[in-house]
Amino acid sequence: MYLFHTDEDRQAMLKSIGAESVDELIHSQVPENARFEGTLQLPPALSEMEMQREVERAAAQNASAASHVCFMGGGAYDHFVPATVDAIASRGEFFTSYTPYQAEVSQGNLQAMFEYETLVTQLTGLDVSNASLYDGGSAAVEAVMMALSVVKGRNKVVTSAAVHPEYRQILETYLRGLQCELVVAPYDASGTSSGIADYIDDKTACVLIQHPNFFGRLEEVQQIADATHAAGALLVQSFDPISVGRLKRPGDMGADIAVAEGQGLGNPLNFGGPYLGIMACRNELVRRLPGRIAGQTVDRRGNRCWVLTLQTREQHIRRERATSNICSNQTLLALRATIYLSLLGPEGLKETAEHCLQKTQYMQKQVASLERFSVPFAGPVFKEFVVKDHDGSVANLIESMRGDGYLAGVPLGQWYPELSDCYLIAVTERRTRDEIDSYCRSLSQLTSEGVIAGA
């Protein structure tokens, strides 16, 4: 336990207070009819040694990207996390401080936030960034909410079936209580959103797309942006922050707001969280930007320094009229992303993107060459692609491949009934040729029940 007071301390403190007992203190506040008189029924206290043992045992029951070769993606990726990220972000001064309400003793966090925001503008090609949101999915939804509040008098949101299905689910949840219409444009035969323009009209406040999309396919963002803007709406693009090492940035293709899941930038998979919601927008939209923002100013001695700024947008000032309800954000993950991007630099980011791109293409070709499998969506992909199994169940395949040491991919049937014989393979820079080749050998030995022959 982490307590400080001995019984002697407690007595001394009670004496100073002028109370007989802690119970007296509590009873003076908590009325009898609100007291809990029992003992909480929780497992008994564990020493560190016992807990280490117990948690290690539970952890050992999980498969993971550490125990298996991970080809799973779908919005969370097994990118390499340099040791430097852990070493620095774990420093107590970062780890155990809070929101920089007292700027004078929070310059470390504030400067790192300012650096993060600048890096995000560099990644997105947009003007301003906030200091982070919860995750890629809620960032996408916050962007839509932001667009709805900016584009007055419109209540229609258009998105694509090739946007992350969970992001669309969150959007549905958020929009349910509001008077808004959500339209989902289907993906086309090549797995892209080429037909989305047909759904955009003069009631449309914003269009939400993902590029590279959920199937790993590249969208024609500039065309969609043109159609969106022509209709007087705003374009929100969810993007992959690694992809812009090679691909054009959202701001360069006409997106008004860019959002992303920043997990891949130096953050572990962590079974889905905490993750990092990235958001950037054009200058004109800044006063509608949700979340914390660090800005530059000078102190009384004229030194450059950093503060939380534009706080009048925020809930603690503006209450129900705030741009969002966000209080805590993901500063620590933003810090990790900042360290990660500092280590990579432009060339490192480019090479990482190149690895993802080329290894994915290589693997796609290998898999497509197997008789039993095909690649249903033709055309360029980045880091992810869809495989169709013509024979057997995807769940069995995944299970069997796990026996061979792989987290084989993400089945698509849970979100796309029409793709129930398909799954998504992600190939990050961590995957080696040997791992890819071995995976394909295992695939080629699958029987129709999914079991690996001879295994």
Binding site: F4, E48, A58, A59, I88, T121, T297, T331, Q358
Partner: protein, 483 residues
């Protein structure tokens, strides 16, 4: 050391991370992308050596105060000691490297922990339905407001109004608004508690929820809490309890028992998840049984037949998904480790010591500053610098700035709004009597100091008071070459 920005340290051609050479056969398989999709050059990130990066951020870190280095009595934020063991445990590869879309049968260890955490949170709150999904306290509030909406919609009742206390965190009204509710404010009475008459006057069949914080942001436990919650229920409404102050009542009082129908936890506060410079937090919510069907999906259930833990998203009345993947697992795991470290009796001791520490500090501070709401509190209390301001021109902000020079983080100031020149102090249970004495002594010294010394404070920090107004008027939100 310098406070140059990363971008100013950048040096063309310098590199830290290197990647392996691409296998030639892989490169050979690669076809060029359409030219209009690719950039001409990668984003203009800074170019640094690994040694640059390490030195830069290591030095940056030392410009922060933190729990690891300083007493941090930031009211309402529960800046308690963050156990190092929880970091080591949460980093175990079998936890940290689990992909969120892995099939349930591959993550039984993970799900067992989270399932057990659901039970623990239910037990501590007295509310049986649990969703671990919300990513932060405010996110939990939002989810709960959506639950209320779904509940009343199902019942066919139109209740567009949410009441919030005037002493509440700004997140309460903001979350209600985001869920589509109109908000109305319930006043505090002279004792700093809910003005029951005002509440009753606003309760009617339009009101969906009354959001309250108990103990409230003044650190006071509402004596009439049962009467209040009964009145809300009598009007057909629901009670939402903001869990920000749970550190005061673990094992002492349960929101479910005093009439709350819904609540969130802030595990990074109550259960010592590190605050990380602003986050990540998490915002698990607990609700009464009849609200359970509306909770976000997925939840974790145990299937006895298969003897397996499952992610359950086949819940037709659920409000649906409110974030991607499962939740802020890393933060939740730390909460689980924390609860396991203490057990039931230990958790009550946590709150007892938190209450004791706050009352002890209050017994010292009340001789230094006016404390408007009596000389008893729960885990925190709110003093007022308004007399000091009138008499010596020293504001709560001045006090906050000057106390930094004594090696203490400042209390929260100007919150809650119901106290003039508020100074909100939360010592937590993980500070010694010696530290509380030293803080009180420093506070006393500050109030005795000359105005000049204080107005210019802090004096010992790298930077003096920043010009916030200039920052907001002409916002500079990113580095550019010429600034």
């Amino acid at each position: 050391q310098s406070t140059q920005l990363l971008f100013e340290l950048s040096h063309p051609g310098r590199r830290a991370a290197l990647l392996p050479k691409l296998d030639p056969e892989i490169a050979a398989a690669s076809e060029p992308l359409p030219a209009h999709q690719t950039n001409d050059a990668p984003p203009p990130l800074p170019e640094l050596a690994e040694g640059d990066v390490v030195r830069h951020f290591t030095n940056l870190s030392t410009l922060n105060m933190s729990v690891d280095t300083h007493f941090y009595p930031l009211g309402s934020c529960t800046m308690k000691y963050n156990p190092k063991r929880n970091e080591r445990l949460a980093s175990l590869p079998g936890l940290a490297d689990v992909h969120p879309l892995q099939p349930a049968e591959t993550i039984q260890g993970m799900l067992a922990i989270l399932y057990e955490l659901q039970h623990m949170l239910a037990e501590i709150s007295g509310l049986p339905g649990v969703s671990l999904q919300p990513a932060a306290g405010a996110h939990g509030e939002l989810a709960a407001m959506m639950v209320a909406q779904a509940y009343f919609a199902k019942k066919g009742e139109n209740r567009p109004i949410v009441l919030t206390a005037d002493s509440a965190h700004g997140t309460n009204p903001a979350s209600a608004a985001m869920a589509g509710f109109q908000t109305k404010t319930v006043k505090s009475n002279a004792d700093g508690l809910v003005d029951f008459e005002d509440l009753k006057s606003k309760l009617n069949d339009q009101v969906a929820v009354f959001m309250l914080t108990n103990p409230n942001t003044l650190g006071l436990f509402d004596h009439q809490i049962r009467e209040i919650t009964d009145a809300v229920h009598a009007a057909g409404g629901l009670v939402y309890a903001d869990g920000a102050n749970m550190n005061a009542i673990l094992g002492i009082s349960r929101p479910g028992d005093f009439g709350a129908d819904m609540m969130h936890y802030n595990p990074h506060k109550t259960f010592s998840g590190p605050h990380g410079g602003g986050g990540p937090g998490a915002g698990p919510i607990c609700v009464r049984d009849f609200l359970e069907p509306y909770l976000p999906s997925p939840t974790i259930r145990y299937d006895a037949e298969q003897d397996m833990y499952l992610l359950d998203d086949d819940r037709p009345d659920s409000i649906g998904r409110i974030r991607s993947f499962f939740g802020n697992t890393g933060v939740l795991l730390r909460a689980y480790f924390y609860i396991r470290s203490y057990g039931g009796e230990g958790l009550r001791q946590v709150s007892e010591d938190a209450v004791l520490g706050a009352n002890y500090l209050l017994s010292k501070v009340k001789h230094i500053l006016h404390v408007p709401h009596g000389d008893r509190c729960m885990h925190e209390f709110v003093a007022s610098a308004s007399k000091l301001k009138k008499e010596k021109g020293i504001s709560a902000m001045d006090l906050a700035k000057r106390i930094l020079d004594f090696g203490f983080h400042a209390p929260t100031v100007y919150f809650p709004l119901v106290v003039d020149e508020a100074v909100m102090v939360e010592p937590t249970e993980t500070e010694s009597k010696e530290t509380l004495d030293a803080f009180a002594a420093a506070l006393f010294r500050v109030t005795e100091e000359s105005g000049d010394l204080i107005h210019d404070a802090p004096h010992s920090t790298r930077v003096s008071r920043p010009n916030d107004v200039a920052a907001a008027r002409n916002p500079i939100m990113r580095w550019t070459k010429d600034k």
